[in-house]
Amino acid sequence: MSRETQPYPSNSADGMNPLKAVVILGEEESGAGNRFRPDLPSTRGAHSHGARARTSRFILYAVLFLFALWYLTPIYILLVTSLKGSSEITLDKMWALPTSFSLDGFAAAWKALAPNFLNSLLLAIPAAIISAILGSLNGYVLAKWKFRGADTLFLLILFGMFIPYQAILIPLTRMMTEVGLYGSIQGLILVHIIYGIPITTLIFRNFYAGIPTELLEAAKVDGAGFFRIYRSIMVPLSVPGFMVVLIWQFNSVWNDFLFALTLTVPSNWPLTVALNNLSGTFIATYNVQMAGALIAAAPTLVIFVVLGRYFVRGLLAGSLKG
């Protein structure tokens, strides 16, 4: 079966293609699938004896809890430290709960980082939106208006997402200086859009490949042109694709450090650079540093909690091509 004829949310048995497997996960997360697979414990139970099964279940949960503790330790440290007042932030009590809640740390961190928070928003939101529009158009062409060499061209574009950006950083800095964009947020937005082309194109290309070509053929017979098909068929069908790409791009731009450090001046620093600077100096006490880290992590964490399903799909699609 060619990819073109596969409707996108196909539950293919082809376990080898992570991009298809993504759908299996996605469905489960949306609650449509058999989420907790209630059949599984019972089949297992039939093959082992009661006491042994209970012991192995206990070990299973114990291991899971231990790992959960490890993953949550930094969150614990972030929370308890950022909520301590300046009298309590001595090193010997770093693991202890605060005796009284204080928002002094957050107030100080916000005072120091608010301009950078705004910079990050002004950077990440436009970059994500423009990247998504560009990626969807590219993906539409590469999936549905294939020409000779289109797949090779796509492969050449894709290589761009794996390169170490160090390999372009020196001439890029020169170029940005020459066109007068060095130091500015606009310049950084442009850079993120350009280097976001490979990943956004990849996600949309694979998404659109699943939309039946017959649908487009029918629209063409009805006289619909390139943009008409894009607007009235592709875009409405790819709302989840837009979610995935918007979240992916927002996250990567929000979390970027290298481009921001190299291409912006301090007044335009986004949060990552400002936070690194704050924690590198000894002026900021630990509660301020940890509150700053929480502020920097908050937007992407909130997105993860609320829209985790799209985040996961982006992760899988972004790491592997289909």
Binding site: F36, W95, W145, Q166, L169, I170, L275, L316, G322
Partner: protein
């Protein structure tokens, strides 16, 4: 006629992106390659050709050799630990546990935060503190800050001369790898810990997607035939996860070859360059010291290393797509 007009439009829509990638990816790579062969060692560009002198200079620099060692050690430790933990967690989660989505979110959320945030928090947890006032893990587990130095540990563990292993290696002509430059810097392992914390959930999700794609009937049939769970894993599940494993290795491997933010936030170069990376060396050489020619040479070496991993992978992936 209409079809032809749309064909032209489609190419015009794609053209700006193709042009942008051609210029900003391939064009700038070539430009960096050119810079790596010129003098340019001040803020002002100097295009006097110097041949391979920049490459000779960085390979003669002990710091760069340590960076290469660090990259190798980091890649091996980080990739293998992430794979093992990811595989373990995916298998545990796939056993029909309660609160599955809770555990999955807990294991995955670090992927949503930046390396800088990760670095800032783990730096604090993995700083040893002073004797008499231990900090972080030392305080939590009651360890002695004098002997547990974590990210400030300057020790490099290497194969000592005159040890039995050294003798063996020496006798089979591999004496070179016993150089003190080729050991395991202890401070680097703390960075590995933070990196695994951040990335292992991603591997778990990859494996989980792989596990969920294996038809339950296949395993059930094996169970009816009397196969043990271990045999089912070993002979049915594991072989089907090999492509996932390869993908995860490539992704993690290329991340570790260019790791920068995390080490900068946690320890910068570290004691005796124990946590220095080629990316950090490149940045400081170029943008701090103004030795752009040498910085470009480091960048090109990084690119060659990563391309050596990524290009075969992309081609392999492309073949799979064609076969599908």
């Amino acid at each position: 006629m209409k079809i032809n007009r749309d064909r032209v439009i489609s190419l015009l829509v794609l053209a700006p992106s193709v042009l942008a990638v051609a210029v900003f990816v391939y064009g700038l790579i070539l430009w960096t390659g050119f810079i790596s062969t010129v003098q340019w060692d001040t803020l002002r560009p100097d295009y006097t050709p110097v041949g391979l002198a920049n490459y000779q200079a960085i390979f003669a620099n002990n710091r760069f050799l340590m960076d290469i060692r660090n990259t190798v050690v980091f890649t091996i430790c980080f990739v293998s630990a992430s794979l093992l933990i990811g595989l373990l967690l995916a298998n545990l989660i796939d056993r029909g546990i309660r609160r599955e989505s809770f555990f999955r979110s807990v294991f995955l959320f670090p992927m949503a935060v930046s390396f800088i945030v990760t670095g800032v928090v783990w730096k604090w947890i993995l700083s040893p503190g002073q004797v008499g006032s231990p900090q972080g893990v030392n305080q939590l587990f009651g360890l002695d800050p004098a002997s547990n130095r974590w990210i400030t540990d300057a020790h490099v563990v290497y194969i000592a001369p005159d040890s039995p292993v050294y003798q063996v290696l020496h006798n089979i002509g591999l004496g070179a790898i016993t150089s003190p430059n080729i050991g395991v810097p202890i401070a680097l392992l703390s960075i590995v810990l933070a990196a695994v914390w951040q990335m292992s959930g991603f591997v778990m999700i990859l494996y989980l997607a792989g596990l969920r794609a294996i038809p339950e009937e296949l395993k059930e049939a094996a169970r009816i035939d009397g196969c043990s769970e271990w045999r089912i894993f070993r002979h049915i599940v594991f072989p089907l996860l090999v492509p996932m494993t390869l993908s995860a290795m490539i992704i993690l491997g290329h991340i570790s070859l260019k790791i920068y933010d995390l080490t900068v936030a946690m320890s910068k170069e570290g004691p005796g360059f124990a946590t220095d990376t080629p990316a950090n060396f490149m940045w400081q050489t170029s943008f701090r010291d103004g030795l752009f020619g040498r910085g470009a040479a480091v960048a090109i070496i990084m690119l060659v290393l990563i391309a050596g991993v990524i290009v075969p992978y992309l081609i392999w992936n492309r073949r799979q797509e064609v076969e599908a």
